[in-house]
């Protein structure tokens, strides 16, 4: 198995800490809130408010489970439109109260189903991209496991994007990529190697800004190694961003995404 395929395997491990575990590991006194005030409470998306070094912060995550039962309840970490709308509601609330936002992303992608299409999966993702470029509070997004497609990007428009050492971030799952381009999903390992989806690849092309280390003995064994790293750097990042006037912050966020693309002419 090549290195990229190994990373994909790690990123998807059922024992890997979930978004809620990250949130509770990084913030104190976290309280979870529910619902998009419109249609439903999507259990694949979690969010609420907690304290970071004594200061309120809004945290949002895409939630998987450790067991089949939990995963079924969380729809395997694949959100419906109402999940993205819940996230947006909580982000707007953060803006209202001047709280910075941290997102913990772990999803193979947005859910593909009839109800998701009926309720506007495309619109929900698009709206988040549009609105996140206007939120006047700092945003840090952390890819903690799988980061797949528009379903991940919908929570990853940020001032800084970080990624766990064994996380992945890609346009599509390697299986989907192989299936679309080669009509053969069994060539997923080959696809993974080609796709440049590892943290090392993504920091080179500036898709991510920071690689969050995992303990050598395994993130499951020594989770606090990772959460205390995130905590420390998050305090610092928010402190820096909050010193910036909001207009400057938004301008820098615009420029962060404006630079992407390779073309001639």
């Amino acid at each position: 198995m090549n290195k990229a395929a190994m990373v994909v395997k790690h990123a998807r491990k059922i024992t890997r800490p979930t978004a809620l575990e990250f949130i509770e590991g990084v913030l104190d006194e976290f309280i979870e809130f529910h619902g998009d005030r419109n249609y439903a409470d999507d259990k694949a998306v979690v969010g609420g408010v907690g304290l970071l070094n004594g200061r309120p912060v809004t945290a949002i995550g895409i939630q998987k489970g450790h067991t089949l039962e939990e995963n079924v309840a969380r729809n395997f970490g694949t959100a419906h439109p109402e999940g993205y709308r819940k996230a947006l509601r909580l982000m707007r609330q953060a803006e209202k109260f001047g709280r910075p936002i941290v997102t913990f992303i772990n999803t193979s992608g947005a859910y593909c189903g009839i109800g998701a299409e009926e309720r506007g999966q495309g619109e929900a993702i698009a709206r988040n991209l549009f609105e996140m470029f206007g939120l006047r509070v700092p945003i840090v997004s952390i890819l903690i496991g799988e980061g797949g497609s528009g379903g991940a990007l919908a929570l990853a428009v940020a001032d800084e994007v970080w990624m766990l050492e064994n996380g992945m971030y890609a346009i599509l799952s390697p299986e989907g990529f192989a299936s679309i381009l080669w009509r053969d999903s069994s060539r997923s390992e080959e696809a993974a190697a080609l796709m440049r989806l590892t943290a090392d690849d993504l920091i080179k092309n500036q898709v991510i800004d920071r690689i969050v280390p995992e303990a050598e003995e395994g993130i499951e064994v020594n989770f606090s190694y990772t959460t205390s790293y995130i905590r420390e750097h998050l305090i610092q990042a928010f402190r820096e961003k909050e010193r910036m006037p909001a207009d400057e912050l938004l301008k820098a966020r615009y420029e962060r995404y404006r630079k992407y693309g390779e073309f001639e002419g």
Partner: protein, 296 residues
């Protein structure tokens, strides 16, 4: 910024030639193009249609179904005569992921479509109202969005913001371009950011969803119009139908992910027949006057 007159282009027939066989479920990029083919197959009624029977709107004379149009064909039916001036005409793609033979794939698509990449952008006037216009073209790698599509759209929108002009985008796309990997995904954010800035200036963005509009394009600028129009029967959705079927293990309802379905569910303002697009868009521009948007 350079402007290019529209003189040098070729119109290429890109509908599937009649093979007697059934229409494939998903359009194939590699479907043969026969520039001199006299007969085309209608996607709706599957009947062969004599090419000369098609007028400039490319509507099937047998069933009223819509043939897919090239970007330049749309310029012809939409813009005031000789008003279209192209922006970024020569922008071409690189190979950021080192995808095998990507340069060859691009070259083939360029030959087939007569375009450098999957979107044409420029300035024009419609019914006397100036606007920035971008038209995606499904004949170039199924309108997939990579760096060039994202950059051309972003520049077009930024140009409109700078000149205080409305933006009009015709969408057609299979989604993000896989061959450029994560950079294609980033184009969704980049274009959406440009639209946000344009919107913050109180400027109008109208988009027209045409067949097919799916994936990353639906999940970004296609769903962000102040006013969203759609052509009748256009396929519009986020996930591909095969993917949904495989996920839920059941058949999809009749009319699923059509323009009408999107209208019913509240995601489209109005379905507009192709012959009425020009006057409808001119009216919308008239109803949104800006200091630059006044009729000459």
């Amino acid at each position: 910024m350079n402007f290019f007159k529209r003189r040098n282009y070729t119109v290429v027939s890109t509908e599937e030639p009649v093979k007697g066989a059934k229409e494939p479920e998903t359009p194939k990029e590699e479907a043969p193009s026969v520039p001199d083919g006299l007969w085309l197959q209608c996607r709706s009624c599957k009947q062969p249609v004599y090419k000369r029977e098609l007028d400039e709107y490319k509507i099937c004379p047998k069933c009223g179904g819509y043939f897919r149009m090239t970007a330049w064909e749309r310029v012809e039916i939409l813009c005031d005569k000789d008003s279209f001036e192209q922006l970024d005409a020569d922008m071409t793609s690189k190979n950021p992921m080192g995808y095998p033979s990507y340069d060859k794939i691009i070259k083939k698509a360029q030959e087939k479509s007569g375009l450098k990449d999957a979107v044409l952008s420029g300035t024009c006037s419609i019914g006397g109202f100036p606007c920035v216009l971008a038209i995606m073209d499904s004949h170039f790698m199924m309108g997939s969005m990579g760096s060039v599509v994202g950059e051309k759209l972003t520049r077009a929108v930024e140009y409109a913001t700078d000149k205080r002009l409305p933006v009009l985008i015709f969408t057609t796309s299979g989604g993000a371009r896989m061959q450029e990997g994560i950079l294609s995904l980033m184009q969704m954010a980049k274009v959406s950011a440009a639209i946000r800035k344009h919107s913050d200036e109180g400027l109008l963005y109208v988009d027209v969803l045409t067949d097919p509009t799916t994936g990353g394009v639906t999940a970004s600028f296609a769903m962000l119009g102040d006013i969203i129009l759609a052509e009748p029967n256009a396929l519009v959705g986020f996930a591909g139908q095969r993917v949904i079927k495989n996920t839920i293990k059941q058949d999809l309802p009749e009319g699923f992910q059509t323009a009408q379905f999107q209208l019913e569910h509240g995601f489209v303002d109005k379905i507009v027949e192709r012959q009425k697009l020009r006057e409808t868009i001119a009216l919308i521009l008239k109803l949104h006057p800006t200091e630059n948007g006044v009729s000459e």
